[in-house]
Symmetry: C2
């Protein structure tokens, strides 16, 4: 068996890569939420001085990437790979952002699971001895996602209470072979789990079984107990999906309830901010990770967390052709100590 593989879907790094910097940028609404103190930049206007929302999203991602590099005290030339993706068709936010950086680039698509997809592959690249510094990044934007996936905002459609609010935000992190943590010590890569849900306004329920599957597998593969973590946090299951995931995990005798949160619930004050089931989008777990989680790890509030970004792998075309919504979730252990 491959030397760094443990169990069925997990790898344990021999030289765990260090997250040496992050950067986060969010929109005005996210900047009024409970985590506002943690973001590096809060936009005053979600057009960000660009002439389209798509260009604004790309600019937000570009600036987050550049800021993460600066925060790492590196030059752009020292970044050996960029791993990035987003929700837009042909991941144009990422490609046009990366165009400004001129570094070797692997484009990813994992829907809202992209942040941990990039951290997983980025860590493998560093631990595998292929690079010293890798930049991982992703973004989403409420206005670009709404008009691509649902309706033009100008229509003012009503949204059902199961629907989620796509986070306008970007997060970036530099992973390095050199550094003093927090470290990425384990990666559990998800399989597609499709519970057969066809309601595109209920993505939390569609993704919850995938999150549960990955978290259960993570415990099985690593032999960790719930006590080994200070926090388990999913990407964007929000108000509908989080209790489903928690219950599915409990059926295997694992009670995560005391340490389990969801980025989509944390980023907004749902009632005050009228975000229905909660936040979603690649930028949700990306900005919560790069803002809140990373900073609280550095401060020592958390010492070991399991970050599990969650993705719904459908498209408007697949939904219109009667397909259900496949879910996926990738888990990454981030720890201040190497175990």
């Amino acid at each position: 068996m491959a030397q760094k593989k443990i169990g069925k879907q997990t790898v344990k790094f021999q030289n765990p890569p260090s997250i040496i910097s992050t950067a986060s940028i969010v929109g005005p609404k996210e900047g009024e939420g409970p985590l506002k103190e943690y973001f590096d930049i809060i936009l005053e206007d979600d057009l960000y001085d660009q002439d389209s929302w798509e260009k604004a999203e790309s600019k937000m991602l570009e600036d987050a990437m550049k800021m993460a590099i600066k925060n790492a005290k590196l030059l752009e030339e020292q970044i050996e790979y960029i791993l990035a993706g987003d929700l837009l068709n042909q991941i144009i936010s990422s490609s046009f952002a990366v165009r400004q950086l001129q570094r070797p680039y692997f484009g990813l698509y994992g829907a809202c699971s992209t942040m941990t997809e990039s951290l997983s592959l980025g860590s493998m690249i560093v631990d595998g001895g292929f690079a010293d510094n890798v930049l991982c990044a992703t973004s989403s934007h409420f206005c670009t996602a709404e008009r691509q996936y649902r309706f033009p905002l100008e229509l003012g459609n009503q949204r059902p209470f199961t629907s989620q609010w796509t986070v306008t935000g970007a997060g970036a992190a530099v992973i390095s072979a050199n550094g003093s943590g927090p470290y990425i010590t384990h990666v559990t890569t998800g399989k597609i789990v499709d519970p057969g849900i066809k309601d595109v306004n209920n993505m939390g329920a569609a993704m919850a079984p995938a999150a549960a599957d990955t978290i259960i597998q993570h415990f099985e593969d690593t032999g960790f107990n719930v006590d080994d973590y200070d926090l388990i946090i999913t990407g964007d299951l929000s108000g509908i999906g989080k209790p489903i995931a928690e219950e599915l995990i409990l059926t295997k005798g694992i009670d995560i309830s005391t340490i389990y949160k969801d980025c989509g619930i944390e980023i907004f004050d749902g009632k005050r901010q009228d975000t229905h089931a909660g936040g979603s989008g690649c930028g949700c777990s990306a900005s919560v990770f790069a803002g809140y989680l990373y900073k609280e790890l550095k401060k020592g509030k958390y010492n070991r967390i399991l970050l599990v970004s969650t993705g719904a792998l459908h498209s408007p075309v697949s939904a219109n052709q009667g397909e259900s919504i496949p879910g996926i979730a990738h888990a990454v252990t981030i720890s201040n100590v190497i175990s």
Copy 2:
């Protein structure tokens, strides 16, 4: 410097992964082209017994993946990661195909560069000690791509002579830590190069500078000469882009003309088949690699090749918003001997 990195953008594997099997499926038109003898399955009808072209593309990819696993004499459970992507919005062809396999999955988007993107990351995962068997795959379909990127086929629009014909095809390969070659020995990962071209019917010209950039960098990083290769083959520059790339590379004093081919030119008989500048799409380099190139490597006609899949990272939205077409190209050295 990271131990397996050579030069600026290249890695050299310590234990080069072996390509232990491939599989290729193409549409009826590709099955009438010059490479027809090499494909494993030629569809009689491009709907492939499905009720939409999108579902047909996904089925084609699923079947190619399953066939590659079978050809490798492995069980599905022995595949530790699937790395796949395609051209459709939210890469639905890949996600719905992978849903049928229940294996850990990283979704990729590199437009038509996806085959070598997946081979690059897949090789790093194997050489890095994270897995013994990884499945790399991609697809494209003329009918899904036309209606997504350009016009509904029913309109019967005329196509300019610079335009290319998206290949209906899927290719898959199993990369393994165990095997007797052909081996993936080096990977040179591309940067985005954007020559400012805005004509979405001239993607060959838009991608050619990226291909040239990666090939020049590959020679610089590795110290290889043109004589070290039996064949250099780009993905889908076709009739317009190939001579541009060749000339750009010549400006650096490197004359690849005697051993340089392009998958988009090889797959169709342009004049007889009315494909204008030539073939394109993720499935172009994927099926030519999995069909023709792999089989000729096994037979010893070629002993060492450089496969350079090329991608145009635009979208209809970015084009409509006035953006140019960013290009990217990833190069992979495939060799019967480990150098």
